[in-house]
Subunit: 140 residues, 4 copies
């Protein structure tokens, strides 16, 4: 029996680099965002709320990161995934705790393993995605 | 007055056998799952999260088992049950705490009595059902 | 920058082996227990509630495992750790969510890393420790 | 009637500077910490969990910051404040949601106004205080 397996994990240094790169990109826009990075377990690893970002963005950014790490799928992909699957379309959005099914949460992977997620909220979800992608570019 | 009645109850040995059989079936696939078995009260009785199953599957598998034991109906059956009943379709999915209305939760019965539920999450709900059924076959 | 680090993780096979060994030891006693194994993040990995174990043992066993993994310290050690530190003695037991500060939760480690925790509840905490230790012997 | 007043507020730039300075100080020790900075409303503004910090430190660091901002008093001061006031000593530690009454949370003030709080968890609370103070030095 193998009692122990070895898995890759996101460093906090990388999580903060993602966050800082997302902030830098956000400062080029006229919108303000919360940025959350979680580990593979969904636990918060790095977070910032830019001045002027509405307070509800704290929750939504964090839950987007949680959802992305929790399924290994961009939150943007959820709508296409469920829209023609009536039971999932009716059930999943309300029933899976902390799920977010619109864009702005992207999984972080390494060698095919989910090692975390980044979540951004502050603009329309199409803008949030751009900021999340700019954050992830820091570790590309 | 009969103060006491006798009810059938799921043994933990059976709950673990269901769980192990579900794991064995899952290992034949390329997906990884969480498997939960609850008793008639909805309380957790046996649980396993396979290596590589996303962490959100813990919650969803457990809630599927809870829902199945809670109404004595497969979670898959909920969608057909409510889709043409507008008040239920609008209300039930979001309002009943811990309800899941897509497949993967199956009640466990004995002599017409609900004695528990098994819930599986890790693939599409149509796959989750197969794993739950393989688990239940252990006590058929 | 190192974006990725490598960490050891408990396998579910080991978690279930710990659980089964704890059950086997418990069956030699006249008490009945719940046994929980969590991963390093505190997420449930394997669980069983033996027939006859009170339902509150589900919660306490799970929280003992969570506490043990959360600090990398046996829950038994907490009392000695805080009893002469007045601020901690007054504060920690009530203020740290899900903490348990009596015996029955033991961390699982590998090469100096916390990889999880086992928690047992069903007898006096001194008995719970014996069952947890018997479980851990399965992967020693 | 003055409908509007002006209040000082912590910038996110300052919150991240506090966090980075705390991390830099922590790296000089052999312990690993979570560091949280909240605003005057108790809402999370900046956060990091260093590699190796136990997962429960996420919760405790955040609640220390929340408590410090919530009363404008160091969490360390709570014990002396309540220990000889029997009703408070019995009640406050368990009854005020998210309160922490041991050291590691320090309010952030400007001109006599509370503008936020920093909370640190990872070592004994006496160590946590040192890291929090090192963080605050960044904006002194």
């Amino acid at each position: 029996m193998n009692a122990v397996r070895t898995v890759p994990a996101l460093t906090n240094q990388a999580a903060r680099a993602i966050m800082e790169a997302a902030i830098a990109a956000a400062e080029q826009t006229d919108q303000r965002f919360s940025i959350a990075v979680v580990d593979a377990a969904g636990h918060l690893n790095a977070f910032a709320r830019m001045d002027g970002a509405p307070h509800i963005t704290i929750q939504v950014a964090t839950d987007k990161a949680y959802t992305a790490a929790g399924f290994g799928m961009s939150t943007e992909a959820w709508h296409d995934f469920i829209k023609n699957d009536a039971p999932l379309a009716m059930g999943a959005p309300a029933q899976i705790d902390r799920i977010v099914t619109f864009g702005g949460g992207i999984p972080i992977t390494s060698g095919g393993h989910i090692i975390g997620g980044v979540g951004v909220c502050g603009g329309h979800w199409s803008h949030d995605i751009k900021i999340a992608e700019a954050g992830l570019a820091a570790i590309a």
